[in-house]
């Protein structure tokens, strides 16, 4: 049995560790590339959202490399993601691939039964140690990345933080020991903190990132927007992390309560996906004194379209500039870069005027 799964940011490191520790062999799909995208686009429905297409590309490349079991998330709506697996399975079967698919649907008892059917009996102690390793890796990655998002705006030498982060990911991927993971986490935390010099722009600028989780987490599809912001001297913060999502999903944490409360004035109902998070977190970032918010989403994403319709009102009501990017397979570097630079310039001007004690007179931009 050769297990594969879709990419999403650096999630592969933790998922790979989980299955390997359980004693299965894993085929990690090749890193997302232009080729992955082209394959996905070619065989996906034209108007499916971008994550669907990339997932399909991942699966095809992994199946070509010899995988025969796909592990994929499921759900029951209303976001389209819950229906991905069903359509992807039909498409891949129609293309003639032979494989089986394990779809993680909600419901604990159902899953336990299905896991036993698919993977055979698993000793409890093995499961615990595998989950512990994977979880610690995921936590370490998220913690270090959170630091990366902040310190890119302060690095002494351009690209230094990214170089360190790449090294960290490589090392954490190689190790299979829990102590080593903890040691790496400490080591790289110090290393990255040491790179800080002064703000590239002279003043601290902070932007909150909201939107659809795949587009926020996966640098290939968002055209490395976080890195671009870091290069422009902007600190980035976001609430969307894989571990964070899992904690909320398992009801071990309840961010939803705060988000709902913050969003209530503008959006009175959950809307699937991360739609209400986008609205609620924009309000929360604004209250915490952020300089701006950037929303990311795939083209035709239903929850993000709702959020995008409402964000202009939030922007006006809370007085925070908001910029929205919708990505599809045709999104290109130049357009993104220009708009980002203009946005960041505006944020800087606004902040400098406020620091001088002048209220910013210009119109607050929102949307587009």
């Amino acid at each position: 049995m050769q297990i594969t799964f879709p990419h999403m940011g650096d999630m592969a490191v933790a998922v790979k560790a989980l299955f390997q520790e359980l004693g299965f062999s894993v085929v990690v799909p090749p890193p997302i590339s232009r080729k992955t995208l082209n394959l996905g686009v070619k065989y996906s429905p034209e108007f499916a959202c971008l994550p669907f297409k990339i997932n399909l590309g991942n699966f095809m490349e992994a199946l070509d490399k010899g995988a025969d079991l796909i592990v994929m998330g499921g759900g029951c709506g209303p976001c389209r993601f819950g229906y991905y697996a069903e359509v992807q399975r039909e498409i891949l079967q129609e293309m003639g691939y032979e494989f089986s698919m394990y779809v993680i649907e909600p419901g604990i008892i159902n899953n336990i039964r299905k896991i036993r059917e698919t993977f055979g009996p698993l000793p409890f102690r093995k499961v615990v140690s595998a989950v512990r390793l994977a979880w610690n890796k995921a936590r370490a990655i998220d913690e270090i990345y959170k630091l990366v998002l902040e310190k890119r705006a302060l690095e002494v030498e351009e690209g230094l933080v990214d170089k360190l982060y790449a090294g960290f990911i490589r090392k954490i991927d190689e190790t299979m020991s829990l102590d080593e993971v903890r040691r790496l986490r400490r080591e790289y935390r110090e290393k990255i903190e040491d790179t800080s010099a002064k703000y590239k722009r002279g003043i601290p600028l902070k932007v909150g990132l909201v939107g659809e989780i795949y587009l926020v987490l996966e640098p290939f599809v968002n055209l490395e927007i976080e890195k671009r912001l870091g290069q422009l001297g902007v600190m980035v913060e976001r609430d969307l992390y894989m571990t964070n999502w899992l904690l909320n999903f398992l009801h071990l944490r309840n961010d939803e309560k705060h988000i709902r409360r913050a969003a209530r004035k503008y959006l009175g109902s959950f809307v699937g996906g991360h739609g209400i998070d986008s609205v609620g977190n924009t309000v929360r970032y604004s209250r915490r004194g952020f300089d701006g918010v950037i929303q990311l989403g795939p083209f035709t994403c239903m929850p993000e379209i709702i959020a995008r319709s409402i964000l202009p009102a939030v922007s006006k009501g809370e007085g925070i500039p908001v910029l929205t990017f919708f990505f599809d397979e045709h999104s290109a570097d130049a357009g993104i870069q220009t708009r980002l630079e203009a946005f960041v310039d505006l944020l800087e001007r606004k902040k400098r005027q406020r620091m001088k004690g002048l209220e910013y007179k210009g119109e607050i931009v929102y949307g587009q």
Binding site: P45, F47, A48, C76, R80, Y266, G268, F270
Partner: protein, 313 residues
């Protein structure tokens, strides 16, 4: 008091009930005009670019009612059945309107969530009714009237499905399934009268509305995991039902540009139709769709299946 109901989206499924309910409560009900170019243009201007066509049209209808009524009925639909949802855009609709359109009258936006059975419908009716009258009996009466006229409406649609095709000559017995949301198919301007045109070409047309809901639900389970969006589940069920139960000659799928659920479900129906050997015509509507283009494609499609049938014989 005048209540406005936009003639778009859920109007096409529930207008008899809504009309009866509010009339019985003593309100005067104003529907927006049938979709036309002006409504569409206004809607396209007011809504965000990325949203799908039916919602842009809805914005247009709201704008055309804005200054003429005291309140607008824009319910917040969440779910229409136990294990399903509908497209999330319905859940945020009242909020989107408030954020994007200035000078709106008061919105009546009850939350309609039937995941816990249909009993909440009555209490919902009371909640809405209490805003307009203190007379509980009047609300109960209005609720019953609404329910009755909705049942009549469904009945009429189903009878349409049982009606035998008017077989005047040999060529007139083409059977075509037209799959799409009612708010597209029943909007003459948006759908360019696809249903009528097919009938003019002497085809017998089936839509999901004409079939029994229970049969649709059963047919949808031929998919390993049926779609969880209520209307798409019906469309899916209709497709599989027609493949199995009726001898259909072709399927026309009508989808709107930017429709999320359609984009995935359409693909599944395409795959299944291919396996069954049934020809499919996919029509994607947006604000730039021209009438001539649609007509040509429909004619070509009908020609094709006619020729194919003759060959088989």
């Amino acid at each position: 008091m005048k209540i406005g109901i936009p003639r778009a989206l859920m109007y096409h499924y529930y207008y008899p009930a809504w009309q009866a309910f509010f009339r019985e409560l003593g309100l005067s009900v104003l529907f927006s005009p049938e979709t036309n170019k002006e409504v569409l243009d206004q809607g396209v201007k007011a809504a965000v670019d990325d949203i799908c066509l039916p919602f842009k049209v809805y914005y247009g209808h709201v704008l055309s009612l804005r200054d003429k009524v005291d309140c607008l009925f824009v319910p917040r639909f969440i779910s229409l059945g136990k294990y399903n949802y509908i497209c999330p855009k319905f859940m945020g609709l009242p909020d989107m309107l408030r954020a994007n359109i200035e000078g709106l009258p008061e919105l009546i936006d009850p939350v309609i969530d039937l995941r816990k059975g249909i009993f909440p419908l009555r209490s919902l009716a009371y909640k809405i009714g209490r805003r307009f009258t203190g007379n509980i009996l009047a609300i109960e009466r209005a609720y019953r009237k609404a329910r009755a006229s909705y049942r009549d409406f469904l009945q009429k649609q189903r009878e349409e499905g049982k009606r035998e095709g008017q077989v005047t000559d040999e060529a007139a017995s083409l059977v075509i399934g037209v799959l799409g949301h009612s708010y597209l198919l029943n909007d003459a301007y948006l759908s360019m009268r696809i249903l009528e045109r097919l009938e003019e070409m002497k085809a017998r047309v089936f839509t999901a509305d004409m079939l029994e809901e229970r049969a649709l639900e059963k047919a949808a389970w031929r998919q390993h995991k049926p779609a969880f969006w209520y209307f798409n589940r019906q469309i899916m069920g209709a497709a599989y039902y027609l493949f199995q139960e009726k001898e259909i000659n072709g399927i026309v799928q009508v989808t709107a540009f930017g429709c999320g659920p359609d984009s995935l479900v359409r693909e599944l129906i395409d795959i299944k139709a291919k396996r069954e050997g049934i020809p499919v015509l996919n029509i994607n509507l947006d604000e730039h769709t021209g009438e001539a283009g649609i007509l040509t494609r429909l004619e070509a499609f009908v020609d094709l299946i006619e020729r194919r049938r003759r060959k088989c014989r």
